[in-house]
Symmetry: C2
Subunit: 424 residues, 2 copies
């Protein structure tokens, strides 16, 4: 029966079998120390003679749990029996037991299969797993259904650019940029409240620390809302659940990155500023007049929110109609019922109230100079009765990146796909 490293402190004096990876080896002549790593943490094993193991080999060791103040966790295992379950070759391509901050990102990603073993790197994805859990739990508690929709579509809802083409038997289809059309269809079909967690694709040639070509989109759509304020209320609640969950479950992972999450109680108080107010704040804070909200402005706005509200996040609403998709509900001739959420300097969410009336949607297609041809499936959602609704999407990797303070979104992606990277 295997004992996890995290259970050793409670097993002092007992004989146990621990299993895991050889993280570090230190040979002092008469005695050898091996740091063993398992999914729950690390522990020191003590051998009388140098064990025949290599770094990263997977072993099972049986011995007695003994107190040792200087060992991590205050205990060590004095080994009497060792079994090598899977020996590792010695030409390890990545220094798993070193600080990953010292390694260039390209080296980390080139050796992804091995670099993921680095405890701090694995921590990133334990945090991500918590985000996935808290996101779904929070929405289910609010009556949302989870949906799984196709990632292959005949045409793009948001125009044909930026789409990856797939050879589908004799046909050509595209990878979806978002489940927009489908989540609206499901709201209108009677679910009223849906969420989807799935991959989304952007065939854009950006090569920046905040862009990847395949990401995980946390998508939400809900009916019978009054305005975009309802959507921001919901997102505040979701973030509160996520930050609370991470505080509870990921203390050692936050510690690995010297990171902290905002106070969950402050999420409902994230400042909400109109697009015009946002530009004024940025102008005032930087002393430079701004006309558009650029990435630098997003950082300034989050710093301002940190100072004034204690949380480095800000909702910006009322974006110009022409800068948002055609299905965005207009607020007036120029403004739309849309919003973004900026968190620690980065846009992590885009959302809006959607047009739910067929006549208004047809009119807006004209305004955007888009032909209704090829959109029959999408338009049928509205032609036959569709409740007022809206929604938004959170980028899972960007949220993870900003929670842990990582330099690039690629660090927060298990197997990132970028302009040039298609492996491992």
């Amino acid at each position: 029966m295997r004992t996890l490293v995290s259970e050793l402190t409670a097993r002092q004096g007992s004989e146990v079998t621990v299993s895991g990876w050889v993280h570090r080896i230190r040979d002092l002549g008469g005695v050898s120390f091996v740091v063993l790593r398992d999914r729950s943490g690390s522990a020191q094993l003590v051998f009388d003679t140098k064990p025949a193991v290599t770094l990263e080999s997977v072993i099972s060791a049986t011995g007695t749990v003994t107190a040792n103040e200087r060992a991590p966790g205050g205990v060590e295992v004095r080994v009497r029996d060792l079994e090598v379950l899977s020996p590792a070759e010695v030409d390890l391509p990545f220094p798993v037991n070193q600080d990953p901050a010292k390694m260039p990102l390209e080296a980390i990603l080139d050796s992804r299969m091995i670099s993921l073993r680095t405890p701090a790197i694995l921590s990133i994805f334990r945090v991500q797993s918590t985000i996935l859990r808290c996101f779904a739990d929070c929405l289910r508690a609010e009556g949302f259904s989870e949906i799984k929709t196709s990632k292959l579509i005949g045409t793009g809802t948001e125009g044909g650019t930026g789409l990856f083409e797939v050879a589908y038997f004799e046909d050509k289809v595209y990878l979806t940029q978002s489940p927009q059309i489908y989540k609206q269809a499901l709201v209108a079909a009677g679910f009223e409240r849906v969420f989807e967690i799935g991959p989304a694709y952007r065939a854009e040639k950006h090569d920046t620390p905040r862009h990847i070509n395949e990401f995980t989109s946390l998508d939400i759509e809900l009916a019978f809302i009054e305005s975009e304020q309802d959507l921001m209320d919901l997102e505040g609640g979701i973030l509160s659940a996520i930050f609370g969950g991470i505080r509870e479950s990921n203390a050692r992972d936050l510690e690995a990155w010297k990171a902290s999450v905002p106070d969950p109680a402050l999420c409902p108080k994230i400042p909400r500023v109109s697009h015009d107010e946002a530009r004024e704040i940025i102008s005032r804070e930087t002393g430079k007049k701004v006309y558009e909200i650029a990435p630098e402005g997003e950082r300034t706005l989050c710093e301002w929110a940190g100072k004034t509200a204690g949380i480095e996040a800000a909702f910006v609403y009322g974006y110009p109609r022409k800068s948002r998709p055609f299905y965005t509900y207009p607020a007036d001739n120029n403004r739309s019922k849309s919003f973004d959420l900026l968190f620690r300097g980065l846009e992590i969410t885009s959302g809006s109230v959607r047009i739910n009336r067929y006549d208004m949607l047809l009119e807006n297609l004209k305004t955007f100079d888009l032909p209704p041809e090829g959109m029959a499936d999408y338009l049928s959602i509205f032609k036959y009765g569709c409740p007022p609704h809206g929604g938004f999407a959170i980028g899972l990797e960007r949220l993870t990146q900003k929670i842990l303070g990582l330099g690039s979104v690629k660090e927060a992606t298990l197997f990132p796909r970028d302009r040039r990277r298609t492996r491992p």
Copy 2:
């Protein structure tokens, strides 16, 4: 403040506002009845004069909740104020308020945007949402982490056939058939226990009621197992959680399909028969000697399990090595440490212990006549220490189909992609 239909019984005598879709209209001259449908159910609205509404229009109605024995739920709403939020045109392409069993599958799928409004059809996906929840909850409780891996790979782990090709900038990549390589990488990276819920693709020309080209794979991989029996134990526990969850949350959805789930307590007792025993049972039950387990044999085996164990499910283990992927752990020269789960006549899971030793894997590649070239990333998982492990995958749509007794897996897929269907 909106009241849900399910809350009406408790609100007798009060004035409420209900919102939803016009499901049925009955005009009796002096009085008109409208059945209103929302996410929680249906209720009868009573009007003194015929309201100007069409089927499927979205309305809000304000009135008094009044007892009426003959109305569903024992109450109806006597409406004093009606608002049409979104009028539906009258050429409805699908009869939403009719029994979907009377409609051909092709008509249901061609008008998917509208046919999903049919309450019985929407029920299918409420059950599916429960499956997703219970699957994840059950595994998290067992210490599993949730992962999200790329669906785009340079080469197929299981050979190059059956892959959809994606034009990726100047490169060509493929849609993944399964997250096999990645879930093994994450187990070896130290998570030990992972699950992933994501799309999987098979570019196969099958056109049967049990094949689709894009499906949702519920994938599991875990380390430090002793044998494939551990995997079957785990899957029994997962099914028990799913069936229990559906019993608790989806009574009206099961009722819509006159379906029932097996007793959760019987899941740990699902019969486990070897491949050889399975053939003997099928031969004995049918009176015909069988050499391979064909779909008819799978049905026979499930009927046999229903008679002998009270649950129409059977694990079959020990498949011939040559019929399983190269990474399957051999049991002997001919047999592998693999298994399938058959449920109500259909294979819903395939799994195995995986080869975790580098030397054995290289050897097996030779046996399978596969070149190690192009597999460097995969092989590095094992070259540098990998614990004993195994895993399996459950097809979400097939499980949903069999729980509800649907004729085709396509009915259990929100937006199915098959040989010819790429919309909506």
